[in-house]
């Protein structure tokens, strides 16, 4: 059944010249059908196009017809047009007039397939390299600015620093305390189950003490802070980029580094060791909570044992890592925020990226610390 709006065409090769007759609606809504019709045509000059039955025509229809002619190496000027109504002729010539300008094509690289995969991997690797180099550069600039503060301490934005400190440290206390308490309980419980079999209950205290202060508290607190404060830095600075506030800060003769970045970095560098300390205490407290009912170790036994067995260097080894983690988290968070271009989706992407980068860098740094401490015999 042929619907009258259905676009189709027929070619009469026996006529002289060969005649292509167009039928139906050559419109955007029928693009697929038209393209199918045109694909199978073998066109050659001399050619006459009969538009007598062409009921409707728009610029998409014209584009397809012109492309089909173009692919057959035919210029539409050499075609005899029959019964093309004035409006349709204007559409056709309008499209034709604009076509030559489109020879310089869009970025149409094919990103599917194996080759596309390699291209994407390469592009992403190169982008990652640039990003990391940029981070390094930014880290240097931040340290230089911080060094500058030592010479001119008055440039420190005290108020901004306090505000940031409150946000990254004080507000983070509850979640840090809760999470490390639970981790302390869990570790003591798991260790306790094993240690009990050998009657080595008391060594649970050593395990929790060393594990918590040296590794778990720093890593876990840094992860929480990366998700909380690193992401917040990126979102804050990214939003300020969008509203051009950072540009405004520059125009007012202020340095974003001084006003925005340094207070955040300093606040976090001070805050993270404090939070790690809270984490140490809460972790051991958690262990104490469960040691009494599970292992029969009273809190005073635990504390005594800690005094005797927990070498203070473990505690310092954990605490020393914290400011370094903080520096990386803050620098990544700030730089990712400043990198945001003027586009709404970018803030979300940058925030996600900050969290991933911060956590990965914390773990890499921790591994590096482990090797260094080993070599130093700490």
């Amino acid at each position: 059944m042929q619907d009258s709006t259905q676009p189709w065409c027929e070619i009469d090769a026996s006529a002289s010249p060969a005649t292509l007759t167009l039928h139906g609606h050559w419109r955007l809504a029928n693009t697929e059908a038209i393209w199918r019709e045109l694909r199978v045509l073998r066109l050659q000059l001399p050619l006459c196009i009969n538009a007598d039955n062409l009921q409707d025509f728009d610029s998409t229809g014209a584009l397809m017809l012109l492309r089909a002619l173009d692919q057959a190496g035919i210029s539409s000027d050499d075609v005899q047009w029959r019964a093309l109504d004035a409006q349709h002729r204007r559409i056709l010539s309008g499209v034709q007039r604009r076509l030559p300008a489109t020879r310089n094509p869009l970025d149409t690289q094919d990103r599917s397939g194996i080759l596309g995969l390699f291209a994407r991997v390469g592009e992403n690797a190169a982008a990652l390299g640039t990003l990391l180099l940029g981070h390094l550069n930014f880290l240097g600039a931040t340290l230089a600015a911080a060094a500058h503060l030592i010479v001119q301490p008055r440039q420190l934005r005290g108020k901004e620093l306090t505000v940031q400190f409150e946000q990254v440290c004080v507000s983070a206390l509850p979640v840090v305390a809760l999470v490390t308490l639970l981790i302390g309980i869990t570790i003591a419980y798991l260790l306790g189950l094993q240690a009990e079999k050998y009657g080595a209950n008391i060594f649970v205290v050593d395990g929790v003490g060393i594990g918590m202060t040296r590794e778990f508290a720093p890593i876990i607190v840094a992860t929480i802070v990366a998700g909380r404060s690193g992401a917040a830095f990126t979102a804050q600075l990214g939003a300020m980029r969008l509203t051009e506030e950072i540009d405004a800060i520059r125009t007012l003769g202020l340095a974003p580094m001084q006003v925005l970045v340094l207070p955040r970095v300093l606040a976090l560098v001070v805050a993270l060791p404090l939070l790690v300390f809270v984490g140490d205490v809460m972790g051991i407290l958690g262990a104490m909570l469960i040691a009494d009912p599970l292992l029969g170790l009273t809190p005073s036994t635990v504390i005594d044992r800690l005094h005797g067995s927990l070498d203070i260097t473990h505690f310092w080894a954990g605490l020393v890592k914290a400011p370094v983690f903080a520096l990386f988290i803050a620098v990544i968070g700030c730089r990712m925020g400043i990198l945001v271009q003027r586009d709404t989706r970018a803030v979300g992407l940058a925030t996600t990226s900050t969290v991933v980068q911060s956590i990965v860098s914390v773990i890499l740094l921790d591994a590096a610390f482990a090797v260094v401490f080993q070599e130093l015999g700490i």
């Binding site: 584009l63 076509l99 489109t102």
Partner: protein, 262 residues
């Protein structure tokens, strides 16, 4: 074959605004506004600030409900027809919002591709040529397609918005202040662009504008809104000749600056 692909017969009005009343609380914005817009015409809607031009445009395209009265686009009552019908009508008009409302996270080409992928079955190898044609129809070069809206100048952003509005071959285009914030030369070239869309593609355009040059050079017909009514409706020459204080002062500014610059 979708029924909405059938074009409206040539003599049928594209937009019919019938006794529209709009009230916001005690404030009466429209108090019985009526007009029709035919095919292939370039019509301007003018009026003082706050006379409800933008509101009327939003009512026509179905974003805001009038308090009373009827609005039909392609014969479909935008406020009483079934959702499927109004959705079909929506596909037949294009709208350019004043600030462009381009998707900021997408390049210009991707912006044009959104409606194409959503509402039309475009064969893959035709998508790029079609996007390039839309860019060219809006007077943009193909490489502009690779840019993000934030990387464009004001005039280019307006053109990009027009290119996206043209994506689905609309039969009528609504433009809200297309030349505001542009330098005179860019504004004139945008006028010429809009005129050529009407002439080449045969589409209708309804433009809200304060730009007297647009009004006096490229527009076929001017509808003047004042005090909630249609104060005047006709070709520029007729409307400017009407003896009404608001119309006189509106066009007098033009005559004054015109004589000064000469």
């Amino acid at each position: 074959m979708t029924p909405d692909a059938a074009p409206t017969t040539r003599d049928m009005p594209v937009v019919e605004v019938d006794n529209v009343v709009t009230r916001f609380g005690p404030q009466v914005v429209h108090d019985g506004v009526s007009f029709r817009i035919g095919r292939g015409t370039l019509t301007a809607l003018i009026g003082g600030s706050g006379t409800g031009k933008s509101v009327l445009l939003r009512e026509i395209i179905g974003l805001q409900r009038p308090t009373a009265g009827n609005i039909r686009v392609f014969g479909t009552d935008m406020w009483n027809a079934a959702e499927a019908q109004t959705a079909a009508v929506r596909r037949r008009f294009g709208m350019m919002f004043q600030d462009g409302a381009l998707f900021s996270a997408l390049t210009v080409a991707q912006n044009i591709r959104v409606p194409l992928l959503e509402h039309a079955n475009i064969p893959g190898d035709l998508l790029h040529p079609l996007i390039e044609l839309r860019l060219a129809q809006a007077g943009l070069t193909p490489d502009t397609g690779n840019k993000l809206p934030s990387q464009l100048s004001g005039g280019m952003r307006k053109r990009a918005a027009i290119a996206r509005a043209l994506a689905l071959e609309p039969e009528i285009l609504f433009l809200d202040e297309p030349t505001s914030g542009l330098d005179p030369a860019t504004a004139r070239s945008l006028d010429a662009l809009v005129r050529s869309l009407v002439d080449d593609l045969g589409i209708s355009v309804l433009v809200v504008t304060h730009d007297l040059d647009t009004l006096l050079t490229v527009v076929d017909r001017i509808i003047v809104l004042a005090d909630g009514h249609v104060l005047a409706d006709g070709p520029a020459a007729e409307v400017t000749a009407i003896d009404h204080p608001w119309i006189r002062s509106y066009f007098a500014i033009r005559t004054m600056t015109g004589t000064q610059s000469r």
